[in-house]
């Protein structure tokens, strides 16, 4: 049994909840609810960042925390929300074939990520290696979400939640990335969100749907 300090315990609990929110994203078939889950995930990541800032007395992490909260918990969810309303997708319910299987596969990914990070030497912060296992799982789960979902909006959410995982890993492992990188990434994400919004409207106009499987028709080979 590891003996953890209180901060480490809280970080562990929060990152476990982040992992759970990834599963919630994976299984949530209603778009609006998925956006909400994504907002919660952003808020949790921001909370972990703020906590690390207090413990490590790294002032720049406070800034990251505020940035994360503002961007991922408030601004982007709000934009997605507006987009969903504009596209009249509020009541859209997606069908995932074999949800239980997807969840099971996700659970397998968690174990796999743990197995992958096991060789990492113990770092100064006792819980770090274990938290990195979870963040890697969050990244993989985001990717899995992009694989199993057809809706473009949920694919974007999956993409953003991958970014959440990476960010959390950076915070846990190295007390955050250099300020410049962080700002750049945050800006990238924002731009991506805006671009995606424009992109959705374009797709919608040209193929009259947001189902990415419809894009199969763009292939050169005649499939049908």
């Amino acid at each position: 049994m590891l003996q953890l300090s209180l901060t480490e315990q809280i970080v562990s609990v929060l990152s476990a909840v982040v992992l759970f929110s990834s599963f919630a994203l994976l299984a949530q078939v209603r778009l609006v609810a998925a956006v909400h889950a994504f907002a919660w995930q952003g808020a949790l990541v921001a909370a972990v960042t703020a906590l690390m800032a207090t413990v490590g007395s790294e002032p720049h992490l406070y800034f990251s925390a505020v940035l994360t909260l503002g961007l991922k918990a408030l601004l982007i969810p709000w934009m997605l929300h507006r987009l969903i309303r504009r596209l009249a997708l509020d009541r859209h319910v997606e069908t995932i074939p074999y949800p239980a299987l997807v969840i099971l596969f996700g659970a397998g990914l968690v174990l796999f990520s743990y197995w992958v990070v096991l060789p990492i030497e113990r770092l100064g912060f006792a819980a770090t290696r274990n938290v990195i296992a979870l963040t890697l799982a969050v990244v993989l789960l985001g990717l899995l979400m992009m694989v199993v979902r057809r809706q473009v909006v949920s694919q974007v959410i999956g993409f953003m939640s991958m970014e959440n995982g990476l960010f959390l890993a950076a915070v846990a492992a190295t007390k955050g990335m250099p300020m410049v990188v962080e700002l750049g990434v945050a800006f990238d994400v924002l731009v991506a969100a805006v671009l995606f919004g424009v992109f959705f409207l374009q797709i919608r106009e040209s193929i009259d749907s947001l189902d990415v499987d419809r894009l199969n028709r763009l292939t050169e080979a005649e499939t049908e």
Partner: protein, 664 residues
Amino acid sequence: MSSVLPLSGIAVAASLLSGGIALFSARLGRTAAVLSFSLLGVAAIAALVAGSAVLVTGATLSYELPLGLPWLPWRVRIDALSGFFLVLIGAVLMAVVAYGPGYVRQFEHGHNSFAVLGGFSGLFVTGMLLVIVADDAFFFMVAWELMSVSSYFLVAFQHENPANRRAAFLYLLMAHVGGLCILLSYGILAGFGGGFAFDLLRTAQVDANWATAAFVLALLGFGMKAGLVPLHVWLPEAHPVAASHISALMSGVMLKIAVYGFVRFTFDLVAEVQWSWGVAVLAVGSFSALLGVLYALMEHDLKRLLAYHSVENIGIIFIGLGLALIFLGTGHRLLGIIALVAALYHTINHALFKSLLFLGAGAILHTCHERDIQQMGGLLRRMPWTGLFFLVGCISISALPPFNGFVSEWLTFQAALQGFVLDSGVLRSLLPVAAAMLALTGALAVACFVKVFGVVFLGQARSRQVRHAREVSFGMRAGQAWLAILCLLLGVFPTVMVTLMDAIPRQLLGAGLSQATAHGWLWLTPVSAATASYAAPLVLLAVAVAWWLAAMLLRRGGIRQCDPWDCGFSPPDPRMQYTATAFAQPIRRVFGLLFHIDERVETEAGIARHRLRVDDRSWGLFYEPIVRLVQGCARQVARLQSGNARAYLGWSLGTLLVLLWIVS
């Protein structure tokens, strides 16, 4: 002690003789059947006594037979593990002996004569006994093939039916592929050990990779006989078509002989086990358990359903064996012993309750000539004793306290929960997941046996034959009663059984399980008293007291018979009852991915008919590709068959040249 070898000799001789006498049934008539079964009874008692003597004293006896090859005489050895399986064979055989004479009465007339059935039954039992006592790979394989071939004839007994012939052929094919795998795995060990005697195999210095290869072959070979998924396909075909007391022997005992072979191979003959083998066995066992019970839930032929449950229970046994391998491979000997004992305990439990259930199914078949449970119903009132014993079997197989199935699953859970001692984090989290699969299997088994007992014995009869069912003869009931009582005893006095089994790990692994019974006969404490304890006699006592109290307090007040209420709808008739298909429908829907479901509504002349077929996916996934491959190869080879005699001679010339080139 010195009487053990003669006793086992008597067991083998008596079973052989019983087969011989059956051949004269045409001349002796009914006497032949009675004599033949009496001799099997002698064999059963001899095996029981010899086996328990070995278990109690913990001795090992060996003997060299004056048979076999000049340079490889057949050797016999009886140790605690053999003794345990002798007890298992004896216990089930006793029930079959009591049950058989009544059951085979239906075969006395007509061309399905008792001569074939009894003759091959005797050979079958002989083969199983010889496998248990064999002490060299050659003798083992001879006994193994004797067992396989004689059981093939028992499966093909009612060969007028093409489905039975097909089942028997499939069985023979799988048994031979399995036998080949076993032979090869012994061959690998023998190559390192320099001989086929088990003593030489034990001391062989096997290279780790070759050992893994031998292990994989053994798992394939014994797994094929035991019915592990996906090698199980022959089992639901072959077991149901044999006569019911033979089905009981096949499902109850023959599968256990495969378990015996696997345990003998991995825990005795192979010097060093590797934990990765355990992971493979655990995974295969978990999937067999889960898929077995799910396919059983979808099955409505009573005997096929029970055969699928054998797949489930073999899976549970292999979960225990997998845990044992993991613990032994990582150096936790004590926990490995607990898991091994749990697996062996479940082995004997399954032998008892599965034979009991097959005998019950046979009793129903005997009196109603019906195997489809959708045609049954209300049998409890027509066959109260069979119903009671069948209920005991259902409770035992569903792993409910205080019967025997629960004890062995409890031990398996306890072993799995000790996973925290392992160093590898991934293994540590896999073990509880395997335990959860076991829990899911157990809960689904409860669902399945609610279905079986509810549809077969409760409610109202759904067909005419079933409505006129009668209770079976005394002998047939006695056979079931014997097994039912053993099920209860093994559930209530687990400490006695564990003490008896103590000699097995002591001989195989060099340490016993003394801490499990350290707190007296009342308490079963596998790891330590602080970790977990179970007092089965007290549980039974408490159940009895609680029941008695409730019944005493509530005795006043009468009972009035009336029509069913059913929310005030019209009086229910048998066709309004929930059927087995309906009962299993929610589970079919939830686990739909695992089945191959063909459901359609066909309209014919204005009448709509609902058709539903639920199949095992393993045929499509594993076997059809192999079949296609074999057929494709055969077609390629067929090109050689030009029909021209000179071309054939040319092939011969070519072969001769190549051979000479290799030899030179």
